[in-house]
C-alpha cells in the first residue's frame, strides 16, 4: 500500500512498507553492535528446520506403539519430550491431551498465538488469524466442520486456550487400518493439524512436507 493510499483510511497511521521497517529495526540495532554475528540467521534456521511437526508425530507414533511411553507422555509430557531432546523455546512445559471415543481436544491461543513450537512447528497463519482465535473457543464443532473435520454428535469437544506457560499437543486416537504398522509408518499420518487438534489421523493421509 502506498503512503497516499494509507492516508485515505481513517484512523490508520501512515507507515513505510513493512519490509523497510523490519530491516530498519535490525539495521539500527546492528549499527550499535547489539546483535551477535548470525543471531537472526540462527533463529531463522531453528524456526524453519528444527521446530517441525515431524517431532510431534514421532511422539504420537511412539505413544501408539509403546504403552509405557504413552503413560509417561500423558502424565508428564515434559519428561517424555525431554527423552527425545525436543524441549525448546515455547516448549518447556508440555502437556499432551488424550483424545478418547467421547472427547476431542482442540488447541488455540485466543490472546495471541502461543504454540508448542519445538514439537508442532511455528503456528500457521490460519491458527494466528482472528477467525480461529475468536470462533474456536465458542463454536469449535462448526469451525472444525467448515475445515472438513466432522465429529459425531456424541463426541464432546474440549478446547484448550493456551494462556500461560503450558504448551499442549493433542494425542489423537489411532485410526483403524493401521494395525501392524511400524512407528515410522504411523508417524507419517500424524499431521500438524492432527497435533493442533483440528484434523483426525487417517490411514489414507500421509505427510509429504515437513511443515504440512
Amino acid at each position: 500500500m502506498t503512503l497516499a493510499a494509507s492516508q485515505n483510511r481513517t484512523g490508520l497511521p501512515e507507515q513505510a512498507p513493512v519490509e523497510d521497517r523490519a530491516w530498519a529495526l535490525k539495521n539500527a540495532l546492528d549499527a550499535k553492535g547489539l546483535i551477535p554475528a548470525g543471531f537472526n540467521e540462527d533463529w531463522k534456521k531453528t524456526f524453519e528446520e528444527d521446530y517441525t511437526p515431524r517431532r510431534g508425530a514421532e511422539l504420537v507414533a511412539r505413544a501408539w506403539t509403546d504403552p509405557v511411553f504413552r503413560d509417561l507422555l500423558l502424565s508428564d509430557g515434559t519428561a517424555a519430550v525431554a527423552q527425545y531432546g525436543y524441549l525448546g523455546a515455547q516448549g518447556e512445559y508440555i502437556r499432551a491431551l488424550e483424545d478418547t471415543p467421547t472427547v476431542k481436544n482442540v488447541i488455540v491461543c485466543s490472546l495471541c498465538s502461543c504454540t508448542a513450537w519445538p514439537i508442532l512447528g511455528l503456528p500457521p497463519s490460519w491458527y494466528k488469524g482472528f477467525e480461529y482465535r475468536a470462533r474456536v473457543v465458542r463454536e469449535p464443532r462448526k469451525v472444525l466442520a467448515e475445515m472438513n473435520t466432522e465429529l459425531p454428535a456424541d463426541v464432546e469437544i474440549r478446547v484448550y486456550d493456551t494462556t500461560a506457560e503450558t504448551r499442549y499437543m493433542v494425542l489423537p486416537m489411532r485410526p483403524a487400518g493401521t494395525e501392524g504398522w511400524t512407528a515410522e509408518e504411523l508417524a507419517r499420518i500424524v499431521t500438524k493439524d492432527c497435533l493442533i487438534g483440528v484434523a483426525l489421523p487417517s490411514a489414507d493421509v500421509v505427510v509429504e512436507h515437513p511443515n504440512t
Binding site: 501512515e14 478446547v159 493456551t162
Partner: protein
Amino acid sequence: MDGVHDLAGKQGFGRVPHTANGPIGDTFKYDWEHLGYSLLFLGVTNGYFTLDEVRHAVERIEPRHYLTTPYYERYVIGAATLMVEKGVLTHDELEAMTGGPFPLALPATSAGRPARENRETFEVGDKVRVTDDHFAGHVRYPAFCRGKVGTVQHRTTQTWPFPDSAGHGRADGGSEPTYHVEFDAAELFGDDTDAGSVVVDLFEGYLERVA
C-alpha cells in the same frame, strides 16, 4: 487489559481460511518475517525486556492498527516499541533508518501490579472462580472466563512470574503455579455455543476458592 486482542467469543468473523491438512506454504512467506521473533529474542537474551512485555506491547498497538496489521508485522512493531521505550534505540533513529514513518504501539496506561499476596493452593478437582477483576495492564486471562466457575484439572509442577508484573518489566511478580481450569461451555456462553468445555491455563493469582 480489555483490548481488541481479547478475541475469544467475539462474533461476526467468517470462516477460518484453512481446511484440515491443506497446504500452509513455507514457514516464512517473506524474507523479513523471521525478524519479529528473532529480534524479540534478542531483546530477551540481552535483558532489555521479557516475553510478557512483548505480548503487552503488541496488545498496546492502537486498536484499528492492530486489527489491520498482519501477525508478523505486529511483532516487528512490538519489538521496535520496546527497543524505544527501553532506550536501546530512539524513534528518530528508527525512522531515519527506515526512510519513512514507523508508528509504534501506544504507551501503557498502567504501571502493572505485583503478585497477589493472599493466594491459596488448589488441588485437582477443586471448584474455583476467576476473580471478578478489571485491570488496565497486562493480564493472561481472557475476559470470557472472568467471574466464572470451573474445576481444576491440573496444577503445574513448575512456577512462573505473575504476568501482570512481568508484562510491565517489574520485579515483584513472584513465582506462581498455573492451573488448567475446565469450564462447562454453558457457564461461559450460555446456550450460544457448541463446545463441550473450555480449559484455560490460569495463574494462581487469578483464582479464588468456591465455598
